[in-house]
């Protein structure tokens, strides 16, 4: 990993590590007609580089999204100071595999960003993502916390959330790839890529305490969209999310797509959450996001592929 900032400098800028995108950025490249827009890959074991290549193949490969010289944002879950085995955070191996693939397509810089709950040093030490990308040049892990690193943006379609402060660097990237881990969430029911956009804003607490959380997540989705979403369903924290510890269910599955809502919808049904078979339409923020046109809860069969390793 290239040392873009010294450790002290990172803290001076607000705290260790990160980046992101949203309003702006390049539009999705794998849409229209009957082009495949959603892929589920089962039987994923150790070789995550091969798995990600296979997963993205029906979508046109990573080269459909990343071009030479691009600045790429990866937005995993990495804001909890918990070890990867807890599954509150995205698999470090998956993040590294996606970063390598983006670099292989000519990305000039890869930013890996998430706003941490607290204790950014502990997050970096425990969740394993920084260590996993430590050998990669031009890859920067950032955990922004300082208000000066965020800019205020209006949400024109917002019903519950009408203005939000977004991580500045996120507005400057060419490609935004969401890399959420699928997990239970005691307040939102499920946490995936759509909910994960809260990791790119400054004040998350107000979404919980001063907004209708589910509607606010959907509102945020109208201005913060990833061109590609890759959902980590390798092992799912099925209870007591988002931080856990909770019950873990092995699924060895990855889901990718150009529609974050559809990716999450598939993720909801990968495993029972809270010991119940829940449908995507029962997750209020996904239902609200679909109603606002952020994405679709289900795609036509022609746009969906299921693969196995």
């Amino acid at each position: 990993m290239e040392a873009r900032f010294g450790r002290r400098e990172l803290f001076r800028r607000g705290a260790i590590a990160s980046a992101a995108l949203a309003i702006g950025g390049r539009t999705a490249r794998a849409e229209g007609g009957d082009r495949v827009a959603l892929v589920k890959l089962q039987g994923v074991k150790d070789d995550l580089d091969a798995a990600v290549k296979k997963l993205l193949s029906p979508l046109g490969g990573m080269q459909s999204f990343v071009r030479k010289g691009d600045k790429v944002l990866l937005k995993p879950n990495m804001g909890f100071a918990t070890p990867p085995e807890r599954r509150a955070t995205t698999s470090p191996g998956l993040v590294a595999a996606v970063a390598r693939l983006a670099l292989g397509c000519g990305a000039a810089r890869v930013l890996i960003a998430d706003h941490p709950m607290r204790k950014p040093e502990a997050c970096l030490r425990l969740n394993g993502i920084q260590a996993a990308v430590s050998g990669l040049d031009n890859v920067h892990v950032l955990l922004p916390m300082a208000a000066t690193l965020f800019v205020s943006r209006e949400i024109p379609q917002g019903k519950s959330l009408r203005r939000v402060q977004i991580f500045k660097d996120a507005l400057e990237v060419d490609v935004h790839i969401a890399l959420p881990v699928a997990k239970s969430h005691m307040a939102a029911g499920f946490s995936g890529g759509v909910k994960g956009m809260m990791g790119l804003i400054l004040d998350r607490e107000s979404l919980h305490s001063r907004c209708d959380l589910n509607q606010a997540i959907a509102d945020l989705g109208t201005v913060l969209k990833a061109q590609l979403s890759i959902l980590d369903g390798l092992s799912i924290m099925a209870t007591d999310g988002p931080a856990g510890p909770g019950e873990l269910i092995e699924r060895n599955t990855l889901v990718a797509g150009t529609d974050s809502v559809a990716v999450d919808a598939l993720g909801v049904e990968l495993a029972p959450l809270y010991r119940r078979r829940i449908k995507a339409r029962q997750i209020k923020h996904l239902k609200a996001a679909a109603a606002m046109g952020v994405g679709k809860l289900a795609l036509p069969a022609a746009k969906v592929r299921t693969l196995s390793m």
Partner: protein, 300 residues
Amino acid sequence: MRSCPLCVLCVIAAALCAPAALAGPPAVIDLLPAGTARAGPAGEPEHFVGKKLFDYMDGGAEVFLAYGFEDLAVRQYRCKCPGGQELSVAIYTMGGPVDAYGIWSINARGKPVVGLGGPAVLARNMLSFFKGRYYVRVICQKPSEKADEVMRGLAQATAARIEGQSELPAELGLLPAGAVDGSARYLPNAECARTLWFDGEGDVLLSRGGKAFSATYTAGDSDLQCTRAVYPSAADALAACRALAAKLGLEPAGDAGACSAAGKTPDDAFAALRAEGSVLRWAGGAGDAQTAAAWLSKIE
């Protein structure tokens, strides 16, 4: 130096009040153990009050607040063993003993642990128990038999600093026997029921001041849910029954002063419910109508 009569009076008053203050309940931060033979502190205690809980856990704080969360004391410890893995002890002050049970009951499936002065379970890398109005979680980063022992030690050291004993709420005895281990829940409001019902049934059930106990049962191939809710008045129970029946797509039967309903629900399962006095009983998720009725009759 001149002496101020008012100041002297204040000093005397403060001195007289001091013993009363000292005799009050200990601050939650004082309940954290200094350490054990196998684990020593690794950092200073942290304290979160009210909505500042969002700073500690973000999503998930809502449900703690719904159980009357007041404050949290948390501290990191380090195992005095090779590798020295970190553990944490978190003590949550809840609204009252039944609220402490309620928040504990959300994640109460695991191996029972005795000797902590209250119901306790160990599951994966967390040992949790409640005692009095306190909910306690001891968490290790990587589960192992050795880590279990260190967690037990920290839990015992914590429990020893909390006075009294705790038992499961007596109301659980009004639900049918044979519930799936760790499935019983206390639901004082709709926010607490978010992870139990996903189509807004909890909002309807727990409107009008209802407070419920609920548990899961295995009946054939079905996971059946038996719920007993108590309302401030019979009129509230009646209204909640009718609203819940409507939510489930059922036609309530009975005259103006009664409510019962049964039949197939939108999730292709069967349910039966009935309001009597200030109590609403509900058996849902059954494989057929007879099973739903039979389980409804088992709810006292």
